[in-house]
């Protein structure tokens, strides 16, 4: 069974293609990864410490009392953290107190996932043009039609990222992607790089 082409690169209409590329370009806020990394590494270090304490104690004490103690300390920590979390969640009306949540709560207690209820949902997106026609062939489809005006830079960036990534793996696919990229973004910020890559890929065998 052959691999189907992706909507974002083969037979998707402009809107589908661009929305999927935009979806692939979304990133978390700056700092989210760093905060998560700190908590995860902290939790990992705590786990290693407790594990080492438990195994060291069980090796030395034939009765296993020290190991039991270490396990109780661990269980106490988890229960204490969960109780703290539950207390703060029940007492505070704020929907999410993520900044103060300790790392160990992620597996021991439910994670706060609420969002402010006052936010509104937009009902339309005026920048986007309508295309309800069946999928046209690739040649007629890619005539520089960028459907998502306000976010075309992000879409262009994601499209170029895919070209770069594929250039290292599959030359034929990369060539197809770069051709499409240039048809869609002939004067974009990445056009010069895309042309350079296109020439380089064409030279490559």
């Amino acid at each position: 069974m052959s691999e189907p082409r992706r909507l974002s690169e083969r037979f998707g209409t402009g809107v589908e293609r661009d929305l999927l590329l935009l979806g692939a370009s979304e990133r978390p806020d700056a700092g989210v990864r760093e905060r998560a990394a700190a908590r995860v590494l902290e939790a990992a270090a705590l786990g290693a410490t407790l594990g080492a304490a438990a195994s060291g104690a069980s090796g030395k004490a034939s009765t296993g009392l020290a190991a039991l103690f270490a396990k109780w300390v661990g269980a106490g920590l988890v229960i204490g953290t969960a109780a703290t979390w539950a207390g703060s969640t029940l007492l505070e009306p704020k929907p999410a107190a993520r900044e103060g949540a300790p790392a160990t709560t992620a597996s021991a207690a439910p994670v706060a996932v609420g969002r402010p209820a006052s936010a509104s949902v937009p009902t339309h997106t005026p920048e986007v043009t309508v295309e309800g026609t069946p999928t046209p062939p690739a040649a007629s489809r890619n005539q520089g039609d960028v459907r998502i005006g306000a976010t075309s830079t992000l879409v262009e960036g994601e499209s170029m990222r895919r070209v770069r990534a594929e250039a290292k793996n599959d030359r034929a696919r990369a060539l197809r992607l770069v051709d499409e990229h240039l048809l869609r973004f002939p004067t974009g910020e990445s056009a010069a790089e895309a042309r350079r890559l296109q020439a380089e890929l064409a030279r490559r065998k």
Partner: protein, 184 residues
Amino acid sequence: MEMPASSGTLPGDTMQRARLSKLMNEGFDAVWRLLRRLGLPPDAADDAAQEVFLVAARRIDRIAEGSERSFLYGTALRVAQAHRRKLGRDAKRHVPLDDAHAGESTTPERALGTRQELERLDRALSVLDHDERSVFVLFEIEELSLSEISSMLSIPRGTVASRLRRARTRFVRALRTTQRGSHV
């Protein structure tokens, strides 16, 4: 020869921590994005991504070299499903993004446009059930192959292909419905 506990565990722990750090540096954004496309609002995606890596931290010594992405995505699918269950009805209701999550957009107009387009994408994705949505997002956005998805979800490749076909049809129909709706 049996190594003393302290000298036997410390170097390994250091290596595992380094591996975990690398995993987070290279995979966090992708996991977060996958969670978002599976229907979690940005704040919930922050928490859920952290949860995915906590699972990875606990099982780091059991994650085979080269299968990290598969492990992270597989865990993310389960975590997303659990979070969406917790969200209950709210998960089906569309939750708009705030300005801070509008990606790399630099101007207010651009941030607004990005936000609206992402909301539109997620609205169209929300018509898919969890199985269809997982396959669709993994294939169309995360660019996994059908075989990779098949082994990750432990389902036959043909089932992946049929879910993808169904998901595509429903996704495209949903998008066109929102287009018509926005131009009435």
